[in-house]
């Protein structure tokens, strides 16, 4: 069945046939042009690197003062990293035509990314990608951005000037031993460039069908020779998407963000970073009304290098987020139990982290750290949705230690653990053991066993839907405990020559105490959350990269994921174990980057995502498997000016990526935008 659907979707999307007998829109024409371009062009010959002759004119001192980007360094280092890490580089982000962080995350083969509507995404690693997905830890420059409301990420509230992102590291598999609770199935580290690397002026402007229009700019300067800074700002307006029948959906989105970063080399040993961001957005809601989001943060980090292999770092941040969300009335069988209203949430986070890395002796390299986080969550409940208590202060204490032991020149073993204390469940222990074996300098085998936990979020413990005096239908479980996983991983990573890199990793995970929904037989309502599920998952992640000498590169990725969740013997779950997963069994992607004569770049990415089961209470529906294609054509008119045309989701007028198959499911449209970027 799935295959007929794929065939129908692919062939249904051939634009020439479908365009017969109806008005061909400008977008269709442009999309066809892009499609033809990406089929019809041949690889170009690599040209000269004119900067070499410029470099040759420099004297030794000047050469030594040059800062270099090391394109090779990340993959080289990656060879030795004993975990399933993938790195999205700035160059890949730029050439993908991504307009948001979630779109950029599609470049990581080890993530499942599904767009729900104009402003919402579901993103996870190794499964559990539900509406309340909660097993991924996401950080921007060391600042944790998941919300304690449900331990998931409001992706619409995480943005940056994409050109100033240095790289995004995506680790699938547990990272609890280093990063703590929530790093159950993966960790995403979004790392922005140092202010030193963003000197000068940059401006971009563009628009099309999606995003409708956007503008961004940055200025980087310096104060003395040791301190650099940048300030940036951006704004975008994203239009609505559509329903399955093609009718307009009310999900437009406008958001602005501004921020700064300053980096200073206070002394030869000491570096200081101070950065901050502020954003404000408005999102039209499907159910009517408009959600308001805003927030700001400020972070300071001090690092001191004690020697080549030893350093200290101290980081602290303050973060505030605001959300006001229109909430629909609670209706059951046509009867209204509570009226419409607005849910407000104001979260304030204070965090401080300390880390120390050093070499103990010839064999042992140690890293340890301690952290403290205080959150003040102030909600105002709506009749149909709220948290009890509405206002809650929580403290999180953590300590970690990791020892990397060099057993032989080609063999190292790392043992570490995090110890955390949270207000809901007390102490949590997250140990991790990793073995890394260099077959030679270009191939590495690694294996790991780790335990990680997801500590309760406010939704698990404090949810009240609706809020008294109205009828409470669903509430958090006062006995809700941490979910846990034991993960077994095996991986291989190789840089077979300077052109070809590949990695394969496999995993088997055993989960316990996963969230379920229960009821009290005497009263039925309210339903409440419990920990009655257990199960296992296994899967495979592959990625391969080929880089020719400058002219073109090719990338392919594949993910296999199988999930088996079941109700614990003798216990109960209202949705019989199907409510915590919504994931494709297979997905693959292939993309290329091509440098054409005349300073023209052409990039395309094709992805296929298998069908996924998505749940609405006890019933399961399906999101069909789909192919989609993005293409970018860019021309560097001069050193300073770049013009590009990007087509996204070119194969269908609109397609669903997520959600229960009912008439309200939102589908994502084919889109096209142009962009002009200027730097000085």
């Amino acid at each position: 069945m799935a295959t007929t659907r794929i065939v129908r979707q692919v062939f249904g999307a051939i634009p020439l046939g479908r365009a017969m007998g109806r008005v061909v829109s400008v977008i269709d024409v442009a999309a066809v042009a892009l499609l033809l371009l990406c089929i019809g062009v041949a690889p170009a010959k690599a040209g000269d690197m004119p900067t070499i002759s410029e470099l040759k004119r420099l004297n030794l001192e000047d050469l030594m003062n040059l800062e270099v980007t090391s394109v090779a360094r990340h993959p080289e280092k990656l060879i030795d990293v004993p975990s399933a890490i993938q790195v999205i580089t700035q160059e890949e982000i730029r050439r993908s035509g991504a307009t948001s962080i979630p779109e950029a995350l599609r470049l990581a083969d080890n993530l499942q990314v599904a767009q729900k509507n104009s402003h919402d995404w579901a993103i996870s690693a190794r499964g559990f990608n539900t509406n309340l997905g909660n097993k991924l830890l996401v950080m921007i420059d060391g600042r944790t951005v998941y919300t304690p409301l449900y331990s998931g990420v409001f992706w619409d509230m995480q943005d940056y000037l994409l050109g100033d992102i240095d790289r995004i590291e995506v680790i699938s598999g547990p990272g609890g031993a280093l990063w703590g609770a929530n790093a159950v199935n993966g960790v995403i580290n979004i790392i922005t460039k140092s202010a030193r690397d963003t000197q000068g002026a940059f401006a971009e402007v563009g628009g099309g069908s999606q995003p409708r229009d956007f503008v961004g700019g940055r200025y980087g300067g310096q104060v003395g020779s040791e301190t650099q800074f940048r300030v940036y700002g951006k704004y975008f307006d994203r239009g609505h998407e559509v329903l399955g029948n093609g009718n307009l959906e009310t999900d437009s989105w406008r958001q602005g963000q501004a921020g700064f970063r300053a980096d200073s080399e206070v002394s030869v040993q000491d570096k200081l970073t101070v950065q901050g961001d502020f954003y404000q957005g408005r999102e039209d809601q499907q159910s009517g009304g408009t959600a308001d989001t805003s927030g700001g943060n400020i972070l300071g980090r001090w690092t001191r290098a004690l020697s080549d292999e030893s350093d200290l770092s101290l980081q602290s941040y303050f973060d505030q987020t605001h959300l006001s969300l229109p909430v629909s009335p609670l209706l059951i069988g046509g009867m209204q139990f509570s009226p419409a209203g607005t849910f407000y949430d104001d979260l304030t986070t204070y965090d401080v982290d300390f880390q120390h890395r050093f070499r103990l002796d010839a064999r042992n390299r140690l890293i340890w750290g301690a952290g403290f986080r205080h959150t003040h969550d102030a909600g105002i409940n709506a009749p149909s949705l709220g948290f009890l208590p509405a206002v809650l202060d929580q403290n999180l204490y953590s300590l970690f230690l990791r020892d990397e032991v060099h057993l032989r020149e080609d063999l190292s073993f790392a043992l570490g653990t995090k110890l955390e204390h949270n207000d809901y469940t007390g102490f949590e222990f997250e140990p991790d053991a990793r073995l890394s074996w260099s077959l030679n300098s270009t191939q590495n085998l690694w294996a790991a066993v780790s335990r990680a936990v997801r500590t309760p979020s406010r939704i698990d413990h404090d949810l009240s839907a609706g809020t008294p005096p109205y009828l409470v239908v669903l509430k958090g479980g006062s006995d809700f405990t941490s979910e846990s996983v034991i993960a077994y991983e095996l991986g291989y990573r190789a840089q077979l020559n300077s052109r070809f890199t590949t990695s394969v990793s496999g995993f088997y995970n055993e989960y316990n105490d996963v969230r379920s929904t229960s009821f009290t037989p005497a009263t039925i309502l309210p339903l409440y959350f419990a920990n009655n599920l257990q199960g296992d998952t296994y899967g495979l992640e592959f990625s391969g990269n080929y880089q020719s000498t400058g002219a073109w590169s090719l990338h392919a990725g594949y993910t296999l994921l199988r999930e088996h969740l079941r109700v614990k013997p003798g216990q109960f779950d209202l949705s019989n174990g199907i409510n915590e997963t919504a994931d494709p069994k297979h997905q693959f992607s292939i993309r290329y980057s091509l440098n054409l004569p005349g300073h023209v770049e052409l990039d395309s990415g094709l992805r296929w995502v298998d069908s996924l089961l998505t749940n609405n209470g006890p019933t399961a529906g399906t999101v069909p498997a789909y192919f989609e294609l993005n293409t970018r054509l860019a021309w560097h008119a001069s050193e300073r000016l770049e013009l590009s045309l990007v087509g996204q989701n070119l194969l269908h007028n609109h397609h669903a990526e997520y959600g229960f198959p009912d008439p309200t499911r939102v589908e994502i449209q084919r889109s096209l935008y142009g962009r002009l970027a200027w730097r000085y």
Partner: protein, 167 residues
């Protein structure tokens, strides 16, 4: 190509390293005996995987030292090493470094590598990176043993190390 692509202002690591390797030919003196003929080429050899791509060729294109035109040669393994004046030993040769240095012992060849601790093990010039900037570590004894004289200008901008045995 596509010069306007990201980081036009910031050169890549191996662009700069290629220029360094080219510059070494200016800051060292090879005796006439190091060449098979007065007009024999000045050879920059790359042993193992090649991290430079076309950059090394670009750095030496059209250049010559006295009567010796500069060329680049690539050697897949030790056995292929021919007469060369500078030998870049890639990271891929880590396991064979000791044998390579032994084989190069009596030749007037400047050895260059970025392998960790390679200058202590006898490589004459080692690249390191510090704060994204390239640094040099030079083992003067091994250069002298090969009959090569390094200019003081180059030495001033480098860290001098000596051979450590038993590593």
């Amino acid at each position: 190509m596509c010069r306007g692509a990201s980081g036009a202002e910031v050169p890549t690591e191996y662009q700069v390293k290629a220029v360094f390797v080219f510059n070494f030919s200016r800051f060292l003196e090879w005796s006439p005996q190091a060449f098979t003929a007065p007009n024999a080429p000045f050879v920059i050899g790359i042993l193992g995987d090649d991290p430079f791509g076309a950059r090394m060729e670009e750095a030496v294109r059209g250049e010559q030292i006295d009567q010796h035109p500069m060329v680049v040669r690539r050697f897949r393994n030790m056995g292929e090493i021919d007469n060369c004046q500078i030998l870049y030993i890639d990271r891929s040769e880590r396991a064979q470094l000791q044998q390579i240095l032994l084989a190069m012992d009596h030749r007037s060849t400047l050895t260059v590598s970025e392998l960790d601790q390679s200058s202590e093990r006898g490589v004459m010039v080692q690249f390191t990176t510090e704060n994204n900037r390239i640094r040099l570590r030079i083992n003067v004894e091994s250069a002298r043993a090969a009959g090569l004289t390094i200019s003081s200008k180059l030495l001033r901008s480098a860290e001098i190390v000596s051979t450590r045995t038993g590593n």
